[in-house]
């Protein structure tokens, strides 16, 4: 009796795969959030500069402060996803 079951499947276990899948989707959601947030801030800043061009410096300063707060969380979130992706 020679039962030759040849199944060539290499790679990660199912659990590790699910973990890394979460990391990829998470990185995408982080960038989605940052895009929505900074986009809203930047769009309103454009409109405000057009409305009061003499207040450009003050609007731009506030814009950078607010956008940097989102950027800080977003970069931290992407780094967490990067660390998860190293588990495989």
């Amino acid at each position: 009796m020679l039962a030759l079951l040849l199944q060539v499947v290499q790679g990660l276990s199912e659990g590790t795969g699910l973990a890394i899948m979460g990391a990829g989707i998470g990185a995408g959601l982080v960038a989605l959030g940052a895009g929505l947030g900074i986009g809203r801030i930047g769009g309103s800043a454009m409109e405000s500069i057009a409305r009061q061009p003499e207040a450009t410096a003050r609007i731009q300063t506030a814009m950078i402060i607010a956008a940097a707060l989102i950027e800080g969380v977003a970069l931290f979130g992407v780094v967490v996803c990067l660390l998860i992706s190293f588990k495989g």
Copy 2:
């Protein structure tokens, strides 16, 4: 009796597949976020330039700053997804 059951299934394991699926969906979500965010900023910049053509330089500077912040997170997120996709 020679029962030769030859099942040739080549490719990734289920876990690796799930991980890379996450990388693909993640890369898509990153580009969705960047598109929504930079789109909002760019759209408002267009309208602002039309409203105050003499403030074009200042609006364009603020537009590039805000868009670059989104671009930074987005490129970082796509690179994370690219690194995950190399796991297969």
Copy 3:
């Protein structure tokens, strides 16, 4: 007795299939994001040129800059999905 049960199941494993599914969905999301973003920018540019026809050159310059930023992320995301799709 020579029962030769030769079952040749060729094709992708389940994992490879999941990975390529992710690549397909990801490429779709990338194009969705780029469409929404560049659509918003282009639409606003049209309306702005109609409002201030003498500012056409400046609006067009800003439009190309903003759209190019989205295009950069989108092309990178599609390339990641393309690389994933080669895994099959």
